[in-house]
């Protein structure tokens, strides 16, 4: 594996082997000294052109737990505000000695560009509304550890799918691992054309909820200005929010995932968010292990 850019072409055995490694790293993270020297001397650069404290922290925690050094780049107050191009920024970071770049960028495809320009390994830390592969892997790991595996599970992904890289990553990885995925959203938040996606879609959450094993809630982008995509938040909550009433309609063993940060009272009610079947904190912990697995896979072998 040279880069991790997308879940679209990821095969089942490749995904499962990363999840197996992540299981091993969870054990490492559970030790009194949760750190191994596996990537001593390697340098991981986090290039976050779009702010995301959580994802950046998770990658940095993963890199440090593997004893890699980290370089951190953020555009505010940097050369980007002076008009430096993405290409020049990337080549500069590479010249400082980075072996791998985690790239988060508003523009779709930016990590692919970086992989073309640089000799570094590249991990897509989220590009536009396109892909966020480590999020999908940590979600799969969380489901696997909670329910034993994804084969035959019914997973509903609910909310702002059209503008969600998390949804696009999970839409491909979950079916690869054997799950049956339904996208559930108002028509204005479903992708315009899902031809060729291995998923079904619906705009009626109440009709679907009783059959789901996993409810995957997406963050409603209340901060997105301009585009008016649904009439009001209260209408959204009424039709698509995981309220206590809907939580009661779930199967007993069903679990709830959310990529965070949660809007309590919008896509998920406060009480549901604190229920033990809501696995958001497991997702966060698993995220570090998954990212360790990815970094180790990309940097732990013969340099290419």
């Amino acid at each position: 594996m040279q880069h991790l850019l997308s879940t679209e072409q990821m095969g089942r055995s490749e995904a499962e082997s990363l999840l197996d490694d992540a299981d091993g790293f969870l054990e490492v993270l559970d030790r009194p000294i949760p750190k191994v020297p596996a990537l001593r001397g390697r340098t991981v650069a986090t290039l976050f052109f779009e702010p995301s404290t959580r994802t950046r922290m998770s990658f940095e925690r993963a890199a440090k737990a593997l004893s890699a050094d980290t370089l951190s780049f953020s555009p505010s107050g940097s050369s980007v505000s002076k008009g430096e191009s993405l290409k020049d920024t990337v080549l500069t970071v590479q010249a400082m000695g980075a072996d791998l770049a985690v790239v988060r960028h508003k523009a779709v495809g930016a990590p692919w560009r970086v992989a073309e320009w640089a000799q570094m390994r590249v991990v897509n830390g989220g590009d536009g509304a396109h892909q966020h592969p480590t999020q999908a892997l940590l979600d799969a790991l969380t489901i696997r550890r909670s329910l034993g595996g994804l084969d035959g599970l019914r997973i509903g992904i609910i909310g702002d799918i059209r503008y969600s890289r998390v949804a696009r990553s999970n839409c491909f990885l979950f079916p690869t691992l054997g799950a049956d995925v339904t996208l559930i959203a108002p028509p204005t938040l479903l992708p315009v054309d899902t031809e060729g996606w291995p998923v079904r879609h619906s705009s009626d959450l109440d009709a679907e909820i009783g059959s789901l094993d996993v409810v995957y809630l997406l963050r409603v982008q209340t901060e997105r200005g301009g585009a008016s995509v649904f009439p009001s938040l209260s209408e959204y909550v009424r039709r698509y929010g995981l309220t206590q009433r809907r939580f009661g309609m779930l199967k007993d063993e069903a679990v709830v995932l959310h990529p965070g940060p949660m809007n309590r009272g919008v896509e998920v009610s406060d009480v549901v968010a604190d229920d033990p079947r809501c696995l958001v904190l497991d997702q966060v912990a698993n995220g570090v292990a998954v990212r360790m697995a990815v970094l180790f896979r990309l940097l732990g072998g013969t340099s290419g």
Partner: protein, 425 residues
């Protein structure tokens, strides 16, 4: 006087397509006939080639004044000559925009200085292309502007467009429209469809073009202006055009080489060489514009040659500006399109005669006749080649490294060789 003898070609002449030699002396066509001998003439071997009037492009962006790092009138002219062109319309979305007569005269003058093609300025419809008040239309007309356009933007205000059309109709000019509804296209970077949905990119729906064409055609019916529709990309627009032509409206349309050659799947790799406005559409739209060019519903090929510097295009797709270059490969691409198979007469009609007629050009786009000004191209429809170099300042084209059939081997503008393919290339 210098003379050039084009030997053994298939010549589009005023008496039809004939096998003949063409002798050019000074700036004129001296003779067309078989077995012409001239010891002093420079000889061009045209066996197997088509010889006809130089191509005319009603839609190029030469970027001068204001963006000379992308292109200027001299380099754009050189690229045009290499592509077989003898006349280019310079679109007015420069900086400053060509909204007054003195700016139009500057363009014409710079074209004459370069001397490689006839550079014809287009003028804007509104001041500064801002879509607020009419440009100096009379002044532009007096400076030789025949085609008016706010290219790069649609005139969003239908009332303003109506007044521009009424005014230009009485002048006898052409309104050339970049038909994309700004609201429907807002935030979009590629065609709205399977590819944009998969990439999570905001799309530009086909209806953004179709809805503006429908509005404009109603205004054409009202005002009687001669209307030219730029870069048709959708089946919906083709159908509206066909209906308008059936009703006898004074409407023409162009299609670009890239819309003939590629569909939106080509943009899936997010290579900004495939980013242009309007975007590459569905394969069914590509079929529609090909058929329309063949049948004549679409009258002509125009390049929408849109140079951008490498540093502007070598960025993520959404950050790249719209536009691709095309002057040097347009004829080759049109000739290579699957199933199009234009014969020599139709090919020259779409590349030269129709655009020249739209612009009312005197010495361009006419079948070759003795005594006429020698604006001539030699095009070998069987030659295969792979573009690797360009005379443009910019390289933002999706054609590099792909093989095409059909190549311009020589171009003459006013009797002078402005391009001759190096032998052995």
């Amino acid at each position: 006087m210098d003379s050039v003898l084009i030997v053994g070609g298939s010549v589009l002449s005023s008496t039809g397509v004939v096998s003949a030699d063409v002798l050019i002396v000074g700036d004129r066509i001296e003779r067309i006939g078989e077995g012409i001998k001239d010891e002093t003439a420079r000889v061009i071997d045209a066996s197997g080639s088509w010889v006809g009037p130089g191509f005319v492009d009603v839609h190029t962006h030469l970027r001068e004044p204001g963006q000379e790092w992308k292109e200027d009138i001299a380099t754009g002219s050189a690229a045009g000559a290499a592509g077989g062109y003898t006349a280019l319309v310079a679109m007015p979305n420069t900086d400053p925009a060509i909204d007054s007569g003195h700016l139009a005269r500057f363009i014409t003058g710079r074209g004459e200085e370069a001397g490689l093609v006839q550079v014809i300025p287009a003028g804007t419809l509104t001041m500064g292309r801002r879509g607020e008040q009419l440009a100096h239309l009379d002044d532009l007309w007096a400076a030789g502007v025949h085609m008016f356009s706010d290219d790069g933007d649609t005139v969003a205000d239908a009332g303003l467009l109506r007044r521009a059309m009424e005014y230009i109709a009485q002048l006898g000019g052409v309104v050339s429209e970049h038909a994309i509804d700004p609201g429907l296209a807002r935030g979009g970077h590629m065609h709205e469809g399977t590819v944009s949905s998969r990439l999570g990119m905001t799309g530009i729906p086909a209806i953004a073009e179709v809805s503006i064409v429908a509005r404009d055609l109603a205004l054409v019916e009202l005002t009687g202006v001669t209307y030219h529709l730029q870069h048709v990309s959708t089946r919906g627009a083709v159908e509206l055009l066909a209906a308008a032509k059936d009703r006898g409206l004074p409407v023409t349309a162009e299609v670009t080489p890239h819309h003939l050659a590629f569909d939106h799947q080509a943009a899936a790799a997010t290579d900004a060489s495939y980013k242009m406005m309007p975007p590459l559409r569905e394969s069914d739209d590509v079929v529609a514009v090909r058929e329309a060019l063949k049948s004549g519903t679409i009258d002509m090929v125009a390049t929408d040659h849109g140079p951008h510097a490498s540093h502007e295009k070598d960025v993520p797709f959404e950050h790249a500006p719209f536009g691709v270059t095309g002057l040097e490969w347009a004829a080759a691409v049109v000739n290579s399109v699957d199933g199009l198979g234009l014969d020599q007469e139709t090919f020259f009609d779409r590349m030269s005669l129709s655009p020249a007629a739209l612009l009312g050009l005197a010495d361009q786009g006419a079948p070759l006749t003795e005594g006429a000004v020698a604006n001539v191209v030699v095009f070998d429809p069987g030659a295969t080649w792979t573009p690797t170099e360009t005379l443009s300042k910019s390289r933002n084209a999706p054609y590099f490294g792909k093989e095409y059939t059909g190549r311009v081997t020589a171009t003459l503008y006013r009797g002078a060789l402005t391009y001759e393919m190096e032998s052995g290339r």
